[in-house]
């Protein structure tokens, strides 16, 4: 009995050591999911970011129709890769609205001219305040918002071609 107790600290040490090594070695969790899923869109009012398109307010997202809210920026390279998918989603009849993070009007206009414009409205979020209010931590991210202004789903990173059907279905299901 005593002999076995003698080994207890060593066993505990090895267990603790393996747990810590595992914690250090396992790949970092880099995606931070928003905890706002299921909650109402935070109240905000953003001025227009692009000429000819209105700005975006939280009231625009509670008009009875579901929306896809795309948080993007003209300086964001994955957003260029995502642009064709957003055009396809808009063409499928989904209202797409944008929140442009830390963007300049000229740069945004060039981005839209080059990559097409799927957006019905784009709000200018010059200090990332609305991005933070959504619980978003990068660009691009997309949120499915239902007709009452409730956040239902978040996509972190660009919407890829294979995701388009799923996003369209999610928005159409969210009346």
């Amino acid at each position: 009995m005593k002999d076995r107790v003698k080994w207890l600290p060593l066993v505990l040490f090895i267990l603790l050591g393996s747990a810590l090594t595992y914690g250090l070695a396992k790949p970092d969790r880099t995606n931070i999911t928003s905890k706002m899923i299921g909650a109402s869109v935070p109240s905000f009012a953003l001025p227009a970011a692009a000429k000819g398109l209105p700005g975006l307010t939280s009231a625009d997202l509670a008009t009875g129709k579901p929306h896809l809210v795309n948080i993007f920026a003209s300086w964001c390279v994955p957003c260029i890769a995502e642009a064709p998918q957003l055009r396809a989603i808009a063409a499928a009849g989904v209202p797409v609205v944008g929140i442009a993070v830390r963007d300049r009007p000229e740069a945004l206009a060039r981005f839209l001219a080059r990559n097409g414009n799927p957006f019905q409205a784009i709000g200018a979020d010059d200090a990332s305040q609305v991005q933070m209010a959504f619980g978003s931590s990068g660009v691009p991210e997309s949120f499915v918002v239902d007709g009452k202004g409730r956040i239902l789903q978040q996509t972190i990173g660009p919407i890829n071609p294979q995701d388009v059907a799923g996003v369209v279905a999610a928005v159409k299901a969210a009346q």
Partner: protein
């Protein structure tokens, strides 16, 4: 050849995923009231940067961290309590965003572990000392 490569490396612009907007006014400027600035600083040191995830927003140079610092300073200047600002962030990003874990059912072991280990160590030490004296 090496000189050419060096020259190329010097003119090549790194592909940074950063905007070209200047930092928000309060990202790198202290508040005028030292008491409020101290409050803001203390909070910023315990909020995790969402981009450089091992750093606090006080340490990080990421743009989003700058915008988070500006947000913290603006709210402190407007009279909001640091605890309320932390709660606002935790509501959006989870307890993960805070470097000050709350004491609750899931984290009690984290807080109790140092005391538990100390008690265990004292127990082992007293037992072995007692044995040696005999």
């Amino acid at each position: 050849m090496r000189a050419l490569l060096l020259a190329l490396a010097l003119v090549a612009a790194p592909a940074l995923a950063d905007s070209d907007l200047p930092p928000a006014p309060l990202a790198n400027t202290q508040l005028a009231d030292p008491k409020q600035e101290a409050q803001a600083k203390a909070l910023m040191e315990t909020i995790r940067c969402l981009v450089c995830q091992g750093q606090s927003i006080a340490d990080s140079d990421a743009e989003l961290a700058g915008d988070m610092r500006a947000m913290v300073r603006e709210r402190i200047a407007a009279g909001e309590k640091p605890a309320a600002i932390r709660a606002w962030l935790v509501q959006r990003y989870g307890a993960w965003v805070s470097y000050e874990p709350p004491l609750d059912r899931r984290t009690w072991l984290l807080w109790a572990a140092p005391v538990l280990f100390l008690v265990l160590g004292i127990m082992i030490a007293t037992r072995s000392f007692r044995r040696r004296r005999r």
